[in-house]
Symmetry: C2
Subunit: 139 residues, 2 copies
């Protein structure tokens, strides 16, 4: 798996865990040995692994919590960090713009920060997505 | 200047340039030799230095563009990246939660990503802010 594939895998894992309401998987997504933070739409930022996971659990307990399709992932590698920006498509053609920050943890990548907020998105007008490009080895 | 002070200086510089409608200063804030991206409230993410600066210019041309007070900066250093989360207070007691990502460029830090979105914030209830702590040398 290339580095970019590994980062997209970690990014996908967040949305799969969210959509499946799978808190065990969600705990695997987030870094466990360092500070993490999460800014849900409309919320003040939540700090710390326990508080972040509790906030996600409170959202996922709601039967109306959204499920996501993810579009247009762009990866920006910044040293041992990776910033993934993407579009979250909610049921009902609503969209959120998201920032996901990951840190390298061996061969895997762990989430350290997430922010999402409502966005007026025209899927057709978006720039080509990272995951539409060939996933060759990182330069 | 400690590393944390240098990061907060770079973060402050973004808001000072924004509030002063100073595009020359804004150009200095953003990294010039690598990809950058910006997610304004309600917008799809904008990619590339020229597009990001044009988007900021279009916002600042509006005489009703907000001015900011910044609260509750938290710094998370991730290798050569720094993720700053903070609260932007707009005129009229409106608040945005923001994520600002910087990369080390010599002794300075340059912005590579910004996202802000509306947030229900109770300033009194926020966790202690990074800039309320003594700014000693980085451990």
């Amino acid at each position: 798996m290339s580095e970019r594939e590994a980062i997209l895998f970690a990014n996908d894992a967040f949305y799969i865990a969210f959509s499946a309401r799978d808190m065990a998987a969600m705990r695997e997504v987030w870094a466990s040995d360092r500070p993490v933070s999460c800014t849900h739409p409309g919320w003040a930022t939540v700090y710390g692994r326990d508080a972040v996971l509790a906030s996600l659990q409170s959202i996922l307990r709601n039967p109306n919590a959204p499920k996501f399709k993810v579009h247009n992932e762009h990866i920006d590698m910044v040293g041992d960090a990776a910033v993934v920006t993407c579009v979250e498509e909610l049921t009902g053609r609503q969209y959120l713009a998201a920032t996901n920050v990951f840190i390298r943890a061996g061969s895997a990548w762990k989430m350290v920060h997430h922010q999402a907020g409502p966005a007026n998105v025209d899927l057709q007008a978006l720039e080509p997505a990272e995951n539409d490009k060939p996933r060759g080895p990182v330069n």
